[in-house]
């Protein structure tokens, strides 16, 4: 039986995946850090038919030397993007290496509420000791300690999302109670380095839990919805995808850096132009594609047998996003190799993921929490095209 069609994600950080991408951007350098630029890129991704955009982040500058050292926080950008679009999933990178998991939980939960269920989370790690100095926190040293912080962080955040059962807000005029305290839970997490009490201050997110994406192996399979995988070749990338799903992660997305031929220049010429300024270092965990739109369609067709989706990292957003939008995604949709999200659906629904039941839910409560159609919410789309409107019925 063929696998379901690919889901398509695109990374929107900065001006593109190449550190010198700003040299070829269609705007003045300072415009990068503006609302207008962000809204324009997000709208382009939504109109192209991507299911999800991701936004990279760190407390440290995104590059050094001659390349951009400025970046607005990913959570703030994600919320802004969510309010500027209506069907696009939005996943900021957040590292829990030094951040407070309680804040991380509230931020992502809020993103899910304000986007009517379109939030995801790319679990990040702060590896550079300079991040500890910027945070003013003791260094989390070594891969094992960083993995522990990532693991504990994802667990705490997930537990906090579960800490309000779906129907904790009862608004019972008869008993004068707004909440039912029996449906709110302390999570009482105790890890090696900290403890968190709970419950959350934010009611359970519309998706139950926003979609968790993580590099394969960073956090346990049971806490991950989408494993991000890759390798130097298509065969290795496909194998990594199969290994991730065999390990129990529901979905595997291949990470592919793409540089595409444009009407004026070939991808190779475009890369060569940027290499005059800064190197584009290859990463062992990402596939790189350089060439025509047709070639990329063929590559994705090949990968579609072994992975559930792809996350594309375009060389230069202002150039490659346009080729993706005009040539690549339409070809994929026509051939039913990929699907685009339907208006009014949550990110989980777009990805074919079930809505998780709160781990605290009692048997009587679970019956209302298994699908969005029976939850307490109804959705409407505003005339302005934003999806900020989500009215709760009582």
């Amino acid at each position: 039986m063929p696998r379901p069609a690919l889901r398509l994600a695109v990374e929107l950080d900065g001006d593109g995946a190449h550190p010198a991408a700003w040299r070829r951007a269609a705007h003045a350098p300072g415009e990068l850090l503006t609302a207008r630029r962000l809204a324009r890129t997000a709208t382009a991704a939504e109109n192209a038919g991507f299911t999800l955009v991701t936004l990279d982040d760190s407390i440290l500058p995104p590059a050094s030397g001659a390349d951009p050292v400025g970046r607005i926080g990913a959570v703030e950008r994600a919320a802004f993007v969510a309010a500027s679009t209506s069907v696009l999933g939005v996943a900021p990178v957040i590292a829990t290496t030094y951040a407070e998991p309680f804040h991380v939980s509230s931020q992502l939960s809020s993103l899910d509420h304000l986007s009517a269920g379109r939030a995801g989370w790319v679990v990040g790690v702060e590896e550079d000791p300079a991040a500890a100095r910027a945070w003013g926190r003791p260094l989390v040293e070594g891969p094992a300690a960083r993995a522990r912080e990532a693991h504990d962080g994802v667990r705490v955040v997930g537990d906090l999302w579960d800490s309000w059962e779906d129907d904790a807000v009862i608004r019972s005029v008869a008993t004068s109670r707004y909440l039912d305290r029996e449906r709110l839970h302390s999570i009482d997490f105790t890890g090696e380095t900290y403890s968190v009490k709970g419950p959350s201050i934010v009611p359970r997110p519309p998706q139950g839990r926003p979609v968790v994406l993580a590099r394969q192996g960073l956090v346990p399979a049971g806490l991950t919805d989408v494993a991000l995988v890759g390798g130097p070749t298509a065969a290795e990338t496909g194998a990594a995808g199969e290994a991730a799903t065999a390990a129990g992660v529901p979905l595997a997305f291949a990470e592919i850096e793409v540089a595409l031929d444009t009407p004026r220049e070939t991808a190779r010429e475009r890369i060569a132009d940027l290499e005059r300024y800064s190197p584009w270092e290859e990463r062992p965990d990402r596939l790189r594609y350089t060439g025509s739109a047709d070639g990329l369609v063929s590559l994705l067709a090949e990968l579609a047998a072994r992975v559930d989706g792809v996350r594309l990292l375009p060389l230069v957003l202002d150039e490659d996003l346009s080729v993706l939008s005009r040539l690549v995604l339409p070809a994929l949709f026509v051939r039913r190799l990929a699907t685009r999200p339907l208006p009014g659906t949550t990110l989980r629904t777009s990805l074919g993921l079930p809505r998780p039941v709160s781990r605290f839910a009692t048997s009587t409560a679970t019956s209302t929490s298994t699908s969005t159609s029976t939850s307490t919410s109804t959705r409407t789309v505003t005339s302005t095209g934003t999806a900020l409107v989500r009215e709760e019925t009582r």
Binding site: I59, P68, A83, E392
Partner: protein, 454 residues
């Protein structure tokens, strides 16, 4: 319209400023009425913010509180609860509004300065210079249980931490010089050499070293709001704040006294008297006639203080579980139970219960009040009640005599609780020349008439 003789009035041309406070967790927002909407749905935030913007308000505020309140050994159930992360929610509102300021109440005790400063600066950039930060502090170890650092602050340290926090935040916001980014892609470097600085700060509470990643916004820095009524809090505000969010806005003399005290403190620290704006929190209840307004106020109080809420409030005073008693009957006959620890968290402790109970009893007896009526009458008085014209006259006097610069309005209904104020009161204020008729600037700092950041 009669205008007061300018020679008698200290500030004849003063304008009133309005903010709206979307509180989040409280028992003043009526949830039981059929017109009451969700406290968490995006539609609610959007409608309140857009109504406020239609009414030419300066700012939209979100409250803070990092642990759900508890009483009688469990989560407090009676009141509206649940709130979004404020900077996240406001970043979405930045995309859905044009002019209104977006103010996040963020706690200095449970955040780290480089991270919070960056988030606020991001909101400031995405909103085109409309961000504000309502700084709050706490030493509350009970809330600290939700954070990896735990309850780590002595009471005395909360303002020293806040002050050091703010100085790091300002250094982060000042990290980039003007025009720090290259004008074109042909430049040698994306950032102008020397224009992007570094922050190194080592103090009692923080030891940080970072390269800030954000340019200055259109207003320079987020606008600093501060509450805090103790002498220590007022001094902190006089030294640091752009706006004071006070509880002195009901009675003219009380408001004027507070404002004069703050102006004294401003002079003492060498800041000009007009360096900050004073915006007391208030409710505004409007009726077509005085009688209708009073009736509406009565209805609002009864919806806010339900029998269960009244028994809960009295129960915390008496330190006895009164649930199941008759709120419409007399006050409890028992004496309050005095213990050091009241078992209630997240709401203010009641000091000196014996004296308060004696006062409640005396007044209830003299007026023939039930327990619920006593709670309503002797609880905090929350707002201004009247016709649009009478309220406009009153507010014009408050602002022209320098008792306030405006009000931070807490609507008793969400999301349409601002409609009356915007549709009925604002035009009356405009007619008296005491309220703007259009936004004249684009940034929150400009709305408030504050001096630019140096």
């Amino acid at each position: 319209m009669t205008r007061t003789d300018p020679t008698d009035v200290p500030r004849p041309d003063a304008r009133l400023h309005f903010g709206v406070f979307f509180q989040g967790v409280n028992h003043w927002t009526i949830w039981s009425d059929p017109s009451s909407g969700s406290q968490i749905a995006p539609a609610s935030f959007l409608q309140v913010a857009r109504t406020a913007e239609r009414g030419l308000f300066d700012a939209f505020f979100l409250g803070d509180g990092q642990r759900l309140r508890e009483s009688e050994g469990g989560i407090h159930e009676l009141d509206v609860a649940g709130r979004p992360d404020s900077i996240t929610q406001l970043s979405a509102l930045a995309a859905a509004t044009d002019r209104i300021g977006l103010v996040s109440t963020s706690n200095t005790t449970y955040n780290e300065p480089a991270d919070l400063a960056r988030r606020l600066a991001g909101l400031d950039l995405l909103s085109g210079g409309r961000a504000g930060w309502n700084m709050v502090t706490t030493h509350n170890a009970w809330t600290g249980e939700n954070f990896r650092r735990g309850g780590f602050l002595d009471h005395a340290d909360r303002y020293t931490r806040a002050e050091e926090f703010l100085s790091v935040a300002r250094a982060v916001w000042d990290g980039w010089g003007k025009d720090a980014v290259a004008a074109s892609a042909d430049a040698r470097s994306w950032s102008v050499p020397g224009a992007v600085g570094r922050v190194r700060s080592r103090g009692e509470h923080f030891d940080v070293d970072l390269a800030p990643t954000l340019p200055r916004s259109a207003q320079g820095h987020p606008v600093i709001f501060q509450a805090g009524d103790s002498g220590e809090g007022r001094d902190f505000g006089a030294r640091n704040a752009d706006v004071i969010f006070s509880a002195h806005g009901l009675d003219f003399d009380d408001a004027l006294g507070f404002a004069e005290d703050l102006r004294r403190r401003l002079r003492a620290v060498g800041r000009p008297e007009d360096a900050l704006r004073i915006l007391p929190g208030t409710e505004i209840i409007i009726g077509a006639t005085e009688k209708e307004a009073e009736e509406k106020a009565r209805w609002v109080r009864l919806e806010q203080v339900t029998p269960a809420v009244a028994l809960g409030i009295a129960g915390r005073l008496w330190n006895i579980d009164l649930s199941g008693r008759d709120a419409d009957g007399p006050l409890p006959a028992e004496d309050p139970v005095i213990v050091e620890y009241t078992g209630t968290f997240g709401s203010s402790r009641i000091k000196d219960a014996l004296t308060t109970v004696a006062e409640w009893r005396a007044k209830a007896e003299a007026n023939g009040w039930s327990l619920r009526e006593t709670v309503i009458e002797l609880g905090p008085q929350r707002g201004h009640v009247g016709t649009p014209a009478a309220l406009a006259e009153k507010f014009a006097r408050f602002v022209r005599y320098g008792a306030v610069d405006g009000f931070n309005v807490s609507p008793y209904l969400v999301p349409d609780g601002l409609d009356d104020i915007v549709d009925l009161l604002v035009p009356e204020l405009q007619e008296r020349g005491v309220y703007r008729t259009a936004y004249t600037g684009t940034t929150l700092r400009e709305h408030l008439g504050l001096a630019p950041v140096e």
